[in-house]
Amino acid sequence: MGQLEAFGVLEPGFLTTVQDLGRFGFSQIGVPPSGALDPFSLRVGNLLVGNEEGEAGLETTIMGLRLKAMREAVIAITGGDLFPTLNGELLEMWRSHLLVEGDMLNFKGVRKGCRAYLALHGGIAVPEIMGSKSTFLPGKFGGLEGRALKKGDILYTLDIPTSFDKIGGRFPTDLIPTSEKETPLRVIPGPQDHHFTELGFQTFRSSFYQVTAKSDRMGIRLEGPKIERRSDVEESIISESLIPGAIQVPGDGKPMIILNELVTGGYTKIATIISTDLSKVAQLKPGDRVRFEPISAEEAHQLLRKQEGRLKNFKESFQHR
């Protein structure tokens, strides 16, 4: 299929990458999933513009991305509210819009959250590498030449007819994830929760932790009360697998949340954040405060079924719209 110029990048902003839902099946050779940190938002964005849920879109961070439409395009912006404007006017998020050639899209800065997603009907056309279009920054492959967008880049899309039937479609307001200022993140304890004292685990579950500036797509470092370790265990363990949402506690006793670009680690993991709360994690920015709330795997699975059920209902009703 042919490709068409969709957007010119006037300013790349703080950090903007091409991401789909990730690259799976290669952890065994050291390749992490990458992909959208807030997969829920990317999936909804894709549905709003008539794409498959897993199509590649843009993930943009904090502020500053400026794009110029080079042709007619159906788009939707989801995720964190980075004050998106179209030709200077505030653009409504969580709904699809028709852009015409010459339109200017601007992300002016954080109003809420940290990462926004731009979905485009036809997707962002980049080569699929190892089964995914996601950018893996430290590995320098995937997405647009394995790097973040830069000024002067041209983004291409597949040459398919514009789907006018989706324009103006909205995602129901009551289904949009809310990110409160002091978000409780639900976790499942383990696999090394027994490396900490009872008091240590109590500290972990009852304290507020602050997101530091040492945070990126690999992980989020937190500042707060030190989590006490048992005196008869070592600080590090033999390296083993990590997954997004795993919470490592290094020697300094301060937890760090693992995100999408690491495969193995040698620090103890006190708990793992549940799948449905990973979208909240993606919206954390330096200065935000979090706390952790242990729940059971069964409860987590119920929450997941609820979320997936709602998304499926939306998908079905939207497709027949």
Partner: protein, 218 residues
């Protein structure tokens, strides 16, 4: 581990026996192709089974894995493949060779000979794409990490730390002692398979001359 992962632990140390058990279990579960299992990730001493809770319940998954484990000894297991890897030792290619020799009150020649004197098992590919963790080094090579890690280690660097040896597939920061460099490309996302080496296989190093390095690259 979380609501999508089940971590199976097989011991608490780095050993060939434990690592082989992990790999046996990984292969057996992969060949079983359980519906709802997305990926199985073996490491030194544990196996992470990633599953889709919308398709497979944790209870059913545990049952299936237990039954696989019971039949583990009868499961087929491939013999390790030996790969010989050329290395230019010392000089700009191996900036820590002299230090390692001094540390062991030895000579660079002896360190090179020792490093190539046996084959190493690949315990794990991790940390970055295609990075093999291999062991065990002979006693006379066991060396601590650098006190201050380097900000940049060139791709292909062959290095040691404690009892292990490894190869940096791409340029990155790193704290291992660099003995030399191989012209063999350890990882290429456009190649199939992307990683040159596989967990469970064996590697033996052999020295080549600087001139040959360029020939290998071309």
């Amino acid at each position: 581990m979380g609501d999508r992962g089940l971590l199976l632990e097989f011991g608490d140390e780095i050993s060939r026996e434990i690592n082989e058990k992990v790999r046996r279990m990984a292969l057996a579960s992969q060949s079983e192709a359980i519906k709802g299992v997305l990926e199985t990730v073996p490491t030194y001493r544990s196996l992470l089974v990633l599953y889709d809770p919308m398709v497979l319940s944790i209870k059913d998954l545990k049952k299936r894995l237990e039954s696989i484990e019971e039949r583990l000894q009868q499961s087929s297991f491939p013999k390790p493949k030996l790969t010989r890897i050329p290395v230019v030792y010392g000089g700009n290619y191996g900036p820590d060779l002299e230090f390692v020799a001094e540390y062991h009150l030895s000579t660079p020649e002896e360190i090179i000979r020792l490093h190539g004197s046996r084959s190493y098992l690949i315990y794990l590919i991790g940390f970055m794409p295609g990075f093999p963790y291999m062991g065990e080094l002979p006693e006379g090579l066991v060396t601590p990490r650098l006190k201050t890690p380097r900000l940049s280690v060139p791709a292909g660097s062959v290095a040691i730390a404690q009892k292990q040896t490894g190869i940096y597939p791409m340029e990155s920061p790193g704290g291992w002692q660099i003995l030399g460099r191989t012209p063999v490309k350890m990882f290429d996302p456009m190649r199939d398979p992307p990683a040159y080496l596989q967990m469970g296989d064996k590697v033996q190093f052999f020295p080549i001359h600087e001139r040959e390095f360029e020939e290998w690259v071309n």
